[in-house]
Every structure is written in C-alpha cells, then in structure tokens.
Amino acid sequence: MAEAQAAATGGTAAMDRGRTWVVLYLATTGVVILLMMVFGLLMRLAQSEWIVLDPAVFYQLLTVHGIGMVGIAALGGIAILWHFLSAHVPLRSAALAINLVLFLVGVVMILWAVFIGGFAPAWTFLYPLPAISGGVWEPWAGVLDLTGVLLIGVGFLILCLEMGRAIVASQGGLGRGLGWHVLFGGSTDKPPAPTVVAGTMVVIVTTLALVAGATIVVMTILNLLFPSLAIDPLFAKNMIYFFGHVFINATIYMGVAAVYELLPRITGRPWKASRVFLGAWTLSTTMVLIIFPHHLLMDFAMPRWTMVLGQVLSYVNSFPVLAVTGLGALAIVHRSGIRWDLVSTLLLIAMFGWMAGVIPAVVDATVSVNYVMHNTLWVPGHFHFYLLLGLLPMIFAFMIHLARDEDVTARGGDLTAILYLLFGLGFVAMFLMGGWASVPRRWAVHMPEWLVWDRIATVMAAGVIVLAGVFVAIFLARIPRLLRHG
C-alpha cells in the first residue's frame, strides 16, 4: 500500500523504502516473540514442577516455540536488514508484503496443526517422526504443518530473490556484493558497504537453505501421503540440519546490519569494509554452509571426515565473529565519547551475546565433548545465548531506534537493557548448568535433582519476558504515529 501511495504521489518510493511494512514486521515480531517467550516460560514452569502440563501439551509448546522463534527471528532480522539495505540498493517492498501474507497464513496452518491436530515432532520434524507419532497425531496434521512451513519458506525465498536481484543490479553480481573484486581481484573500486556484504551473504545462504528445506519438506509431505515413499533417515537428518542450521544462523547475519549502521551513526565513526572484513564474511558464507555436520557428530554412520570437518570448521567459523565483527564493534565504541542509552547498550549487549554465544557452541562442536553434552540442555544454552542476547537485542534496539524516529542522539538511561542482560545471562546460564548436569533437552518431565536449575531459570525467564515486554511496548505504543508518518 505504501508503494501504491508513493506511485500516486509521484515517486517518493525511493524515500519510502517499505517503511510501513518494516513497522508491521516489527510489530508482528514483537507480539509473537512475547507469545513464544510465554510458551517457553510455561515449559520451564512445568519442568520446575510449579505447574502441571500434560506432556502432549508440553511437546506441542516445544514444537511451536521452536518453529515460532526460528520464523520470528527471521522476520525480525529481515525487517532490520531490509530497512538498512534499502538505503544502499533499490528494493521493492512488494516482496515484503507477499512474505508477510504467506508468513501469517503459514503460521495459522502451523498453529492449527499443532494445537488442534496435536502435531508435535519438534521444529526439526526429524524423519520419520512426523509419520510415526505413536498414535498422538494423524498424518493430516503433519501435512498441514509442513505445508505451512513450505508457505513461509516460499515467502522468505521471494524476499531473498528480491534482495539478490537488487544487489546484483546495483553491484553487478553477488560476488561483488561480497566484495570479491576487492578481496581477490585487487580492484581499487570502492568495496561494498558492510550492510550490503551482510545482505549478500544472507541472500546466498538463505536461498540455498530454503531450496534444501523445500526439498526435504516436500519429501516428508509425500511420505505422509504415500508411506511407501521412504526417505533415508540419515539423508533426511542431513537435509534438515543443513536447512535449519543455515536458516537460523542467517537471522543474526540479518540483524547485524543494525550494529553496522547504528553504531557508526551514534559514534560518528565510519564502519568500512576492509579486506579483512570482506575475507571474514566470505569465510562465514562458506563455513555456514558446510559446518552443519556438527549437529550429526553422534551419528556414527556418517563418514568420519564429516565429523572432522564438523569439529574443525566449527572452530574456524568462530574467527570471523570473534576476531573481526566483534572487534570492529568494540573499536567503534572504544574511547568514542559515547553516552550509553537504551539503543547503544542493547547493541553492545548484542555483540557480546553473539560473541559469547559462540563459545559454548565451539566447545560442544568438539567431538569428545559432544559425546557427553550433545542433546543436553547445553545446546539450547548455546543458542539461547546468541539468540536471546545476540539477535533479540539487535531487534529491540532497532525497534526503539524506529520509535525514536531514527534519531540517534543519546537519551534516557539504559537500566532496562542492563536488567535484560542480567536476567538473560541468568536464564542461559541455567541451561548451560543443565548441560553440565547432563540434563537431556526436550524432556517434558525433569528428575528431582535437576529442579534447582529449572527453577532459577523460570524466575530468570519471567524477568526476561517483563523486560522484553517493556521494549516491545515502547515500540507498539509508537506504531500509530509511525504508520501515520510512514
């Protein structure tokens, strides 16, 4: 609608950059994140034995919490990336509209399948669990759920293609979007802006993830409809973890655009794409596509070399984040005269959360550690660390940035951000402690000796939800004004 309006008024579209849609994306993100957090809290409450939850309901919540968070992380990440990328390359916001519609339709289908159809195979829907539920759900629920997943995938595919088109058109190829002409060609052309580099990486890896995801989802749907079409379970696992790993990883590469764009504006120090920076992003692009076997270290049927690759490359993949992006962010704020406010503190937390979240991941990707830590709470410990304290602060910072009409002048305190960090740290620490205590992940009922970690986590989760609610409320309260002036 924004664009039709723009067309009618004769060409403010270049200024518009799909802002109305970005605002709607963030509103959806905020509301869904809170809802999913409440689902998470319910699960922790049940594990703490403070409420009683039917295991069937627990696993339904688990499924929705997982897929919902993955989807909404991508939606929020895209909002950030789109907003900043559209200043560098001309994007058509119709793709945003199509994606949001497909997303919402998909969400309704998934919720229907899970809460009415009882479909609960976790968000990873590892074959053949969707088809073999032990009588808990019918095949139709699986078909409905996976069709919803497929629709959401189609929406994100269209978004990626549109971003890819714009990058190719304006930069002359995705290779140039990654700065390869500077990195490899020794070209003296201006390197692409960091946001363009991030956008290019997201386009490449997400598109490939979606193609793989669509393939395995369609295969699983066909298997539900025609059980004689059997899938090799190990192949299915590889496809699902390739898709899942790349897709969820891409969300933080979307969100990091907020750091690249806002920190320089706040401090007045430019973030330029140096050759090291470009090299780091090219490395990340490659690594994120090939390190997924670290999810399969306990599948001894996998070829040995994939295990070696999974461990060594997982470690190598931490270089770009730890030594380049993180350091760049720290350098920009170091002795910059910055006055910390909500936005800048959230961005700093985001960089810390991302970098720190990498650490337990690298530890767990070590085969000998994985041998006794895989599928314990250590794993959710790692990804909650970098999603809750890495990606979400980026999204919250961006929400508040928009609510402040994109004015980067520091204002107000940052107490809520600090509290969010503390509750968040407490929350993820309890997951990591659970991993240390060998608590298996995805258990509806916990043993008595594990309750202490569960109960502290529950309290921390409640705190996180309250503070996230504050950030979302700040944004939602501003929406009428944002839409009016959008």
């Binding site: 461990q311 550690v369 240390w436």
Partner: protein, 179 residues
C-alpha cells in the same frame, strides 16, 4: 575432572574474559580520542587475536580429534557386544549386564523413529551417547570404569513419552561373571 566440568570452566573463563573486555571498553568509552590511530591498534589486536586462534587454537582442536568415539569394531579385540534396539518408547538389549574395564561395543539401532542412546553413570552424569536411527546400526565402543547401575535415557526427541524412555544396564566389577 569430568569433560562436563572442563567444558563448563573453559566456556566460563572465555565468557568472563570477553565480558571483562566489554566492561572495560564500556567504562573507557566516555573520553573520546582520535579514531584512526585507535583503529590501527584495533587492527593490530585483531591480527594478534586471529593468529593466536590459528597458531594455538587450531592445533588444539585438531589434537582433540585424536579421541573419536566412532571406534570401529576392528579396533577393539574381543569386545563385549550389546545389541541395542529402541522403539517408541522403550529400550531393548540382548544382554543387560557387562563387565567394567573391558571395552563394550554397543550396536545401536531403532525400529521406528530417531532416538538417542545416552548412558548415565550411577551419579547421574552422562558418560557416552550415540544416536539410534532406523535403518542404521551405530557402533559405539565404551569402556566402563566402575561397576554399578547405569541408566539409559533417550537423548533424541521421539514423541509423547520421550522423557519416560528409560532403562538400566548393569556393570559388574572386572573379572566377575561374564554375561
């Protein structure tokens, strides 16, 4: 020290160190200095960090690869073989008792969906695990250090009663009865 404790301490140390850097940067951020020299220093630090990770970390991770639980059957002479079959939602073993200090070869598979075969020592700490997959037999070799009742828990989400999928393997003292 157990692998779990070591992992926790290493992670904790790294995270605390990282937090210290962030806190220091935040504390010093109020007084502005010129950016270009600072950036040059940051680049130098970045290079040092990167090279440290390459020169120190990379050999470490490669060295850690020497321990792979994917030991093939041929590598162990005369193992005690336990065939493990998993089904929603129970475990089946062809022998329920093995001897400590002697390698045990677990041949793990599933009759329906993916499960995870997790071995817990009597204190409740996980000592080994492997995925149980339909159509595949994953061979895991483990040597129990001490006698006792080892719980088997399911470590891969497998549906409604995933958390109730438990069993026990008894480990007898070395040189005891051979089951």
């Amino acid at each position: 020290m157990t692998v779990q404790t070591l992992s926790l301490l290493v992670s904790l140390a790294a995270i605390v160190a990282l937090a210290a850097v962030f806190l220091r940067v935040r504390a010093l951020s109020h007084t502005p200095v010129d950016y270009p020299p600072l950036l040059a220093r940051a680049y130098r630090l970045g290079r040092i960090a990167l090279w440290t990770m390459v020169v120190v970390g990379l050999p470490v991770t490669v060295w850690l690869l020497r321990y792979m639980p994917h030991t093939t059957a041929a590598a162990v002479a005369d193992p005690q073989v336990v065939n493990v079959s998993s089904t929603q939602w129970f475990w089946e073993f062809d022998r329920e008792s093995v001897e400590a200090s002697k390698p045990v070869e677990f041949h793990v598979t599933s009759t329906d969906v993916n499960h995870g075969f997790g071995l817990y020592d009597p204190s409740g700490r996980m000592v080994a695990q492997v995925q149980a997959m339909p159509g595949y037999i994953n061979v895991m070799t483990h040597t129990f250090e001490a006698a006792g009742d080892y719980r088997v828990l399911c470590l891969e989400y497998c549906g409604l009663a995933h958390h109730a999928m438990e069993s026990v393997i008894t480990v007898t003292a070395a040189g005891g009865s051979n089951g």
